[in-house]
Amino acid sequence: MKRFHVVLNAFSDDIEKQISEICGLTEYLLEDVKKGNTFIVGDGKMDEDDKHRLAEMAPTKSVIFVILKNLHTEMILDCLMETMCFGDVYLFGSSSFGQEMAIRLGKRSDGSSATGCQWAALSESIVYVKKQVYSNHMMATFCMENSPFCISAARGLEGAMPKAGKSEKEIKTIDKTKDQYPANLTNTIFEEKKPSGGLQTASFVLVGGRGVKNKAGADALARAAEGIHAEFGASRPVVMNAWAAMDKLIGVSGSMIHPKVCITAGVSGAAALYAGIEKSGFIIAINRDENAPIMRKADVVIVDDCQEVLRALQICMEKERADETQAD
């Protein structure tokens, strides 16, 4: 019988997202997968209350806290290797931590690893995973060859969180703070990321693509976004040219958004970008080229210059606003 273990990173403050991703991944794992351990790695700042709260959210009954001086993958790998059994399945979130851990653990234990997976399932003892390939154009199903199976989730996956358990959790703590740490990284300075201006939660987003042409064009579009009360996002060429900040990036490499309405302006509709907006309720594409791929991936399309249409839309919405205020 297989056991599945979950590995969560409490150095990051998005544990709930990690759990939701893993639950999304395992929705189809058959019932007979015996639940194993949830490993939660964090530092000594976690008090008993924090631990209790985190343990409650864990998808398994057995919870093992691994306490580290700092987030050092070598120390975590050692710990996981010590408790590993043949046939085990290890599940990780979509972050770079999850991806690194899945790959390294798979390799180190002579098992196999799969990253960025949308789905994992077990059939007759074989582990199958699904993931997007060919720059998000195709969904591939793979069979994993060797045990243990180390799987990390795709970005943007969401699954139902486990219900707070009736049964008591079994909590263990492994303290690794006094161990010898490899000294290959020193003088580390951490800067917290600025919040990305609400793209994740916005209900209306305007995404600018290479069709903005330059920094001035991107700035004009960002102002138009403000004028129509939408959040501004950008495609990869726009941020790679530094016409907009990196935290505006939409797509598989940036934010995966789910607004009610998304307008794309000067975006061709490459699958890597589209994966980031596909959960939008309604998509409007403005592109000069009626044959651009986005024109068949949007609900409504306008064939025209994106700056002109947005300027006009801003004026139209400002006028409506003024009329409404007057009527009030």
Partner: protein, 273 residues
């Protein structure tokens, strides 16, 4: 001297394939052989970052040698010639005419054998993933093969001294800057303004003609028929991801008319004024 190896992959430009073509492949095996080839975008950033590092290294009194390696067909040599023209010292193509896909363990195994057989390297720079496979596995697998540390999502590499580099990299909730002891593998994330620079015609003529080293896979002790080797993942099925939506065209005499229609018909009530 710090010796840096830049590893890159040449991939088909998948954005050039139309939706019909993705959907029409009967065997669900995509033939990308006819599609224009490009430098995988994260690898391109890595190569440009190596050049920037080398530009700055003089100020720190750290001599640097830049080398490059790629696994693939003869056409990849055009990129190696460009790298020579840009000042790279040694450029190697590991010859492989076959299209090997979904097998990052194989790529990492070959690169590790190549590194064991060549001179000492202090740093390997590579993109964090390629467009066609999207595994992000090669840098970590190579690190495991070599027993080296690997830092991923790197966005800046700054010279420090002959045994260390300073690296800025993205982590889950922010950015870290650390001094890293060599040897190490750096896998490159999204870095603004990291398009590979274009060599001058003079440099192409003078430096771009240097001989490219060619290595056969068998010479690395790996059988070309891949006997005894197996990928972690075996492909069972491929399906097209259907992203289509109705694409209703909004007509009008000019941008103003279209914008007005857009607001009145589709946005009013859907978005807040």
């Amino acid at each position: 001297m710090i010796r840096i190896l830049g590893s890159f992959k040449v991939v088909p430009d998948l954005d050039q394939i139309s939706e019909e073509e993705w959907a029409s492949d009967p065997a669900n095996r995509i033939d990308t052989s006819y599609v224009k080839k490009i430098l995988s975008c994260y690898d391109e950033s890595g190569l440009e970052m190596m050049l920037k590092f080398s530009d700055e290294s003089g100020d720190f009194g750290v001599p640097v040698q830049l080398d490059a390696v790629t696994i693939g067909r003869k056409m990849n040599e055009n990129y190696l010639k460009t790298l020579y023209a840009l000042g790279f010292t040694e450029a190697t193509r590991i010859e492989c005419e076959k299209e090997i896909q979904f097998w990052p363990e194989w790529t990492a195994g070959i690169l590790s054998e190549f590194m064991n057989q060549t001179e000492r390297y202090d740093l390997v720079v590579m993109g964090n993933r390629s467009a066609d496979e999207e595994n992000g596995k090669v840098p970590f697998l190579l690190a495991e093969e070599l027993g080296w540390p690997c830092i991923s999502q790197v966005v800046e590499i700054i010279p420090e001294d002959e045994a260390h580099v300073k690296v800025r990299y993205e982590v889950d909730n922010g950015y870290c800057t650390s001094v890293v002891q060599l040897p190490c593998i750096l896998s490159i994330g999204d870095v603004p303004c990291s398009f590979l620079r274009v060599p001058t015609l003079k440099d192409r003529m003078q430096k771009g003609k240097k001989e490219i080293h060619r290595v056969k896979i068998e010479d690395l002790g790996i059988s070309e028929t891949f006997e005894g080797l197996q990928p972690d993942l075996s492909l069972v099925n491929l399906e097209v991801i259907d992203q289509s939506r109705p694409g209703v065209i909004l007509d009008g005499m000019n941008a103003e008319e279209k914008a007005e229609k857009l607001y009145q018909t589709y946005l009013k009530g859907r978005v807040e004024l």
